[in-house]
Symmetry: C2
Subunit: 339 residues, 2 copies
């Protein structure tokens, strides 16, 4: 495990445990992809066109993989997890479509975003369709426990998104608010995706809770790391566009940390760049230099590593199974990856 | 019952059967309003602020009233209908919020629209929250039948909205497409609101279907009438702003009918106004004159009256109960109102 951001740049490329999970769960994932394709259909052609644009672009399918891994870890022998993994991906896709409208994004998964191609209106409405379709799939599955978990997660995601919007470009954003946002908008669906895998396998409340907790900690660790990578990823690879959060003035953990340590000049810099969005050439490099001066990226990764440790602790409460190690590798990777 | 659009202007003001329903179901409606207020709360203040802006503006609460009237008509003695009526209103409110973003509306219920006051982003996300919250309430109620009905209605609404968007400003829009849109975007929720009232009362599939059908026909009749009133309401009262559909180039039934009868000059007029949206002063009056020349408003109301008759036929399959007459008055009013 790397110890610092700078060592990150020199480290050998980490094997991506998602690839391993994808290989092991290949048969299940193919079934899920088939269901996704089948159930996003509609007599109204614009719906599969628009949804297909985003879904075909791929994405890592990390949330459905979590549902599949969770049910497999408990040696569940049925097929209910396929439909529920598709539900989880539909909810995720719906939130992506609405996010892109909210952020007025032009790019998603390396392609033009759906709103840029089809218009904000269509992106909002197709998001609504996928969201409704997701609940129809859950009703077909017929478990009120699953419906409770996923409807709760959906409400929490929306709350997190609204909170994020409320505190956008606000230099006074606290670490507490940041954690509330990422716990809601990102980690809640990771947690639910994991938990429903345990629920379909009919496991004990304690085991369902442990799977939920693992997903929650994975989501938090993953999001902090994502927010750090928005400042440093491109030092290593070009898979992610750099500085998007900075351009939008998004108050992520590194900046929040640096703001608490800022001198008067730095405060004025953050005020101009993040709150007033009056950015000039060279500001991103200056931001990076301030973040490094205050050890803000390292501090943030330290926080992510705490959640990584909590996630590994949650896994320890689950049955000893090869997939448990893969899930452990995944949460370590979520923090230590450089892309 | 009035026989023509022109006689509409001279007729005495019809008593609004919604007022009667509101009076009879006052106790239940108070409970529903309490639940709506309670369950739209969130730790994130922007959510109740924005939702409250729209919900406090009132609206007719026609959909929750349908759920209440339906369960009462079957002499249901419990209280489950309150929560489900709140669900129906949350779904409706979520679609209004998203509609206003889609239409880029600045007004709703005589006040500034939520998107105009709080921004499109917040309107999208608070809509998502209300939608999720609605499913949480259904899960609390615990009926998979209710969940099936309302998740299906939600998906159909979204499909209808996307279809409407797909054929916007398209002069070739057919009556068939128009009916598909209004059946989906408007009537599906009326139908579901009615049906869940029968479902909680534990009625037979035939009675649940008859309530569903009544709601569907009511919704269709109501929407056609609404689309006619967009051209003629202000001849009588000022409760509704006139010509919004025309300004947006919305292909509603009167225009679709007039287009099928149009001569070359009229075709060019509709092309310029509805498809190219190149409107000038006086165009609305010219449109009205063309619609009247082809009897298009009367033709549309004739279609609405067919659905009114179908709705009354569906009611005949339900128990003889004072509320049945009020529901009959309501569907007649939906067509014959002048505002």
């Amino acid at each position: 495990m790397k110890q610092s951001v700078s060592s990150k740049a020199q480290s050998t490329v980490l094997e991506n445990p998602l690839d391993n999970l994808t290989t092991i769960l290949k048969y299940d994932l193919t079934a899920v992809n088939g269901l996704i394709l089948q159930r996003m259909q509609s007599e109204v052609p614009l719906i599969p066109q628009l949804a297909g644009h985003l879904i075909a672009a791929g994405g890592k399918r990390i949330r459905p993989l979590l549902t599949l891994a969770s049910s497999s870890l408990f040696d569940y022998q049925g097929t209910r997890q396929h439909k529920l993994a598709a539900c989880v991906e539909f909810i995720h896709t719906a939130t992506l479509l609405h996010d892109d409208v909210v952020d007025d994004s032009s790019q998603r998964r390396g392609r033009s975003s759906a709103n840029a191609l089809f218009g904000n209106e269509a992106a909002v409405l197709v998001g609504d369709f996928l969201f409704s379709r997701s609940f129809q799939l859950m009703v077909e599955d017929g478990s009120l426990d699953v419906l409770r978990i996923l409807s709760h997660a959906s409400a929490v995601i929306a709350e997190g998104e609204v909170l994020q919007l409320s505190i956008a470009n606000d230099l006074a954003t606290t670490g507490e608010q940041y954690f509330k946002v990422i716990r809601s908008k990102t980690a809640a669906l990771f947690a639910a995706a994991c938990e429903v895998g345990a629920v379909v396998a009919g496991r004990s409340p304690a085991e369902c809770q442990a799977m939920h907790d693992y997903g929650l900690y994975l989501g938090i660790a993953f999001q902090i790391s994502d927010d750090v990578l928005d400042y440093v990823a491109a030092e290593k690879r070009l898979g992610k566009s750099l500085g998007d959060d900075f351009k939008e003035g998004k108050m992520t953990l590194p900046v929040i940390h640096a703001c608490t340590k800022a001198n008067a000049g730095e405060k004025a810099f953050w005020q101009r760049c993040m709150a007033d969005l009056q950015q000039q050439d060279g500001d991103f490099l200056e931001a990076l230099s301030i973040l490094k001066r205050h050890n803000a990226l390292e501090h943030s990764l330290g926080e992510a590593r705490k959640y990584c440790a909590l996630g590994i602790k949650s896994l320890a409460e689950l049955p000893d199974h090869p997939l448990r190690q893969y899930l452990q590798d995944l949460i370590v990777f979520a923090v230590e990856r450089d892309y």
